[in-house]
Structures are given as structure tokens and as C-alpha cells.
């Protein structure tokens, strides 16, 4: 993988230039399997669990994770997607646009929500997501699963399930896709 257009970081724009691979797609799959087992173990099953993928990077991971959970627990886990654009704290500071339509298929009251995202960075997206989720009912608990925790938190937020802890420099960029996890930089078009 040499270059990839980052269409889903539209407010930033630019081209992602990969420098080195951190996880292969097989590694990602193994990490998802381990995290799924951790979710089952921690919650004593999945009967009240709802997976919510964050648009856009978290959605495919949540979908894969629900398949794994359904298999290991023989369940039919509720899975939704959330776009946090309307809850961001930088509206007005830069153009903020929703990427997709939010889809939360069940009332979250009394459920255990596992938020799924690709990369945990400043924590601001998760802050926005927590606010958004409270509009869908009072969940019994909200847990956070991320494929990569790259540090540089700006808010007191920590993940419950982590695919890989990855020390990075601030100006670097982490890309999670079909072809695994890559570290690189965002260059101008």
C-alpha cells in the first residue's frame, strides 16, 4: 500500500502516505477475536450487550466483532452505527460534516453498550459519542473497544478493550483498513 485517498477525513482532506505496517489484516482479525472474548468474559455473556460502531472507521470493525461474538456465544447481538458530528466540540472552529446516518436499532436503556472505534487519539470523538448515546436511553454501562490506542489524550478517557497500544508522534497518522493497520502521515494533495 503506497498511498490512499482519505475520503473519510474530509474536513482534513489530503492523502494518507503509509510509512510502515503495524498489524496485518490477520493480526487485526486475531485482535478482534481476543477482544470479543474479553467482552464475553467481562460481561458474563452478551445477552445485554449492544455494539455501536463509530462512523466511519469503527463500523466495519463492529460488524466483524458482532460476527465473532455471534459465533462464540451463539447469539444475535444488536449492532448499530453512530455519527457524532452533531455532538462535536469543534463545530464552528472547522467545518464539521456528518459522514453517514446514525442507526441505533434498540433502546439503550438498561443495556451494556460497547463503543467500537478504529483509533483512540485525543478522546474527543469518544466524548461526543458518550453525549450522543445518552440521547438514546440510559445505558447500564458504556465500554470502549478500539483497534489502536495511539495516546495523546486530551480528555480523561480510557479504553476497556485494546487491539494494540501504539506509541506515536502527534503529527503521525494511523490508518486502519482492510489491509491492516499502517502508520504514516497525511500529505497535501
Amino acid at each position: 500500500m503506497a498511498e490512499r485517498e482519505r475520503s473519510h477525513t474530509r474536513p482534513l482532506g489530503g492523502v494518507f502516505v503509509a510509512h510502515s505496517q503495524v498489524l496485518t489484516s490477520a493480526d487485526v482479525q486475531r485482535a478482534l477475536t481476543r477482544m470479543s472474548h474479553e467482552i464475553v468474559e467481562r460481561n458474563g455473556g452478551v445477552q445485554d450487550v449492544v455494539l455501536v460502531g463509530l462512523q466511519t472507521g469503527g463500523v466495519p470493525l463492529a460488524t466483524k466483532m458482532s460476527e465473532i461474538l455471534n459465533q462464540i456465544e451463539d447469539a444475535k447481538i444488536a449492532t448499530g452505527s453512530l455519527d457524532v458530528a452533531f455532538y462535536r466540540d469543534d463545530i464552528g472552529l472547522r467545518p464539521v460534516l456528518p459522514e453517514a446516518v446514525t442507526d441505533i436499532p434498540v433502546d439503550l436503556a438498561g443495556r451494556v453498550v460497547v463503543l467500537v472505534d478504529d483509533v483512540l487519539f485525543t478522546g474527543r470523538t469518544i466524548r461526543a459519542a458518550l453525549n450522543a448515546l445518552s440521547d438514546f436511553g440510559r445505558a447500564r454501562a458504556i465500554q470502549l473497544a478500539v483497534m489502536v490506542d495511539r495516546g495523546h489524550r486530551e480528555l480523561p478517557i480510557r479504553p476497556d478493550y485494546v487491539g494494540k497500544n501504539l506509541p506515536t508522534r502527534r503529527e503521525e497518522m494511523v490508518d486502519v483498513g482492510e489491509d491492516g493497520v499502517w502508520i504514516g502521515t497525511l500529505e497535501d494533495k
Binding site: P11, F86, I91, G92, P95, V96, L97, T102
Partner: protein
């Protein structure tokens, strides 16, 4: 993404095809907000939106105010009848007063065509949204009409509207019927539908067509009844008595007989044809009461979609980025 952006929404023409597509896309995200049990998001907290309606309105004003409140903006509404406008304060002074209070967006309806354009040149930082000016334009109405048509088409196909993009408008045959001459909705609809690739035909008595159609990408139907059979979408317009439409037709009864969508005429429509009306409907004049209540008539959907579309406009102007064809032309 460094394309031109719109500061204001004065005309559908400000948006261009990409701008319209973006409004429809973002409105779909707000339609989801509206389906929630708590249909409110904190997006525009701290922003102040003022509605300045110099002409009467029920749904447009309520719709804009609902949209702003669901975005958590504060809403000030100037009731012109009880304001200093009645003491003779000029539009310019009224607008400057409103802006001096730190208002972020001004939503204006005025009986004079071009009033919102004038206001847009006076304001320094506020965004201006045209909620209908004279015979000129009513952009949000046209946008919500397009949004509603796409929603119906998507529902029939069993897919989400956003999946259709704007391709579903390509070659769609839209028939606009009635008082085109005095209708700002018709002007905005012609711009919106044609920008999206639809074919627009007008059907009206000669006296209710604009004096000149030069430069308009539309056809005029020779035979109304035949045109009905070809239409995918029929957009009915209200006969605008307050703009003197009454004197352009021999009698209301004759108008209804020749140009109204009567129960008999509706049989000529294709099974899939959708009927829209911007409201308020004059039942028994341009539309028969039975026809107004048919499932293919989507007036109620238009009203509910109006809130989502106006949320999208407010959000794109105040928090996002509204693609457009460029700045407001500087007119002296």
C-alpha cells in the same frame, strides 16, 4: 475539499448541483434525529437565529423555528405586526438592529423580490436565509420537495434514501401546474429539479405563465391532460389570491375545471406518480379534497421533511460547510 462555499442561502442557484446533493445528504442525517424519542442535538448551542417574517406564514416559520430549536440554537422571532416596522423603521435599520444583538443567522420572508439579497449585502457576519421573497424564490421549499420525492422513490425500492444519491432525479419528469407566474416555489423548483437532472414541464393558463421563459430550462405543456399521463412528479401550486391571481383567470370554477387536479383528472396519472403541494392547499380549487388525501399526495411528508431540510441548511451555514457556486454577486 476547497470548492466554493455559500455564505447565505438566497437562491437555489447559489448551491449548484453539488450543494443541493450535500443538503439532501445532511438532511437525511437530521431526519434520523427527528425519528428519535428525544429529537434534539446540541449542535448549534450558543448560536442565535432570528426569523424576520414580513409576510404571513404558518408552516415555513414554524418549520424554521422547530429546526433551530432541535439544533439547540436560541430563536428570536420578530413579529412584524407588533414591531417598530409599524412605526416606519426601514428594513435596513431593522436588520442592523437585529445584527447588533449578535445574531448568527437571519431567516427572512418578504413580499418584495430580492429583499433577502439586499439584507445579505447589509449584514457583516450573520448568515441570511431566504424563506420566500415575493415572486422570486423559496429555496428551502424546493429542497424539501426534492428530499420528499427521493424519500418516496427510496421507500418504493426498499432502500435508504441516501443510497440513491441524486441519480434518482436523472430524467425524472416533473410537471409543475398552476400559478407559475406568481410562484416563488415554482422558480426554486425549476432550478433545483433541473440542477439534479430532471426534466421540468410547466402547465398553466397563458395568463399565469411568466411573461418570458427565455433562459428557463423548461418546456410548456400544450395539452395538460396528456402531460399528466407522462409525469413522474406533479407539483401543484396554489392560486395566489393575495398576489392578484384571481384577476388572471376568468373564474375560480373555470380554473378548477381546466387546470385543477380533480378526481377525474387524477385517473390520467401513472400509478407511480407522486403529487406534491407546498401548502397551504386550496381544496376544491387547484386540488380536489379527495385527491389531497390520497396516499400519492405527500403534503404531510413534505411538512415533516421541512424540519430536517431546514436543520441541514442551518447546520451547514453555521457549523458545517455549504458547497456553493461562489459569493453573492455584488449588485449595487
Amino acid at each position: 475539499m476547497t470548492g466554493a462555499t455559500s455564505q447565505h442561502l438566497l437562491s437555489v442557484a447559489d448551491l449548484g448541483t453539488d450543494g443541493i446533493a450535500e443538503v439532501l445528504r445532511v438532511a437525511e442525517a437530521f431526519a434520523e434525529v427527528e425519528r428519535r424519542s428525544v429529537p434534539k442535538v446540541p449542535t448549534l448551542r450558543g448560536k442565535v437565529v432570528a426569523t424576520l417574517f414580513f409576510e404571513e406564514s404558518t408552516r415555513t416559520r414554524l418549520s424554521f423555528e422547530t429546526a433551530a430549536k432541535r439544533l439547540s440554537a436560541d430563536v428570536l422571532s420578530l413579529a412584524v405586526a407588533s414591531s417598530s416596522v409599524k412605526k416606519g423603521e426601514s428594513l435596513r435599520d431593522t436588520v442592523e438592529t437585529v445584527e447588533a444583538m449578535g445574531i448568527d443567522a437571519v431567516i427572512i420572508r418578504h413580499s418584495s423580490s430580492g429583499a433577502p439579497h439586499q439584507v445579505a449585502r447589509w449584514v457583516e457576519r450573520a448568515r441570511v436565509i431566504n424563506a420566500g421573497d415575493g415572486w422570486h424564490e423559496h429555496p428551502t421549499q424546493a429542497l424539501l420537495d426534492c428530499f420528499t420525492v427521493r424519500q418516496v422513490l427510496a421507500e418504493r425500492k426498499g432502500v435508504a434514501p441516501q443510497e440513491l444519491g441524486i441519480d434518482c432525479f436523472d430524467g425524472l419528469r416533473v410537471l409543475i401546474v398552476g400559478d407559475v407566474r406568481h410562484s416563488r416555489v415554482a422558480r426554486s423548483e425549476v432550478l433545483a429539479y433541473t440542477a439534479l437532472g430532471a426534466q421540468v414541464t410547466l402547465a398553466a393558463p397563458g395568463s399565469l405563465l411568466p411573461p418570458s421563459l427565455e433562459g428557463w430550462p423548461v418546456e410548456v405543456a400544450g395539452d395538460f391532460d396528456a402531460a399528466l399521463g407522462d409525469a413522474d412528479v406533479v407539483s401543484l401550486l396554489r392560486l395566489q389570491a393575495e398576489r392578484g391571481s384571481g384577476s388572471y383567470v376568468p373564474s375560480l370554477r373555470e380554473y378548477t375545471a381546466r387546470w385543477g387536479l380533480t378526481a377525474r383528472r387524477v385517473e390520467r396519472l401513472a400509478d407511480h406518480a407522486i403529487v406534491t403541494h407546498p401548502g397551504p392547499m386550496l381544496r376544491g380549487v387547484e386540488i380536489a379534497s379527495d385527491v389531497a388525501d390520497m396516499p400519492r399526495t405527500v403534503v404531510t411528508q413534505q411538512v415533516s421533511n421541512g424540519v430536517a431540510v431546514r436543520m441541514a441548511i442551518l447546520f451547514l451555514l453555521l457549523g458545517g460547510e455549504l458547497p456553493g457556486v461562489g459569493e453573492v454577486p455584488a449588485v449595487a
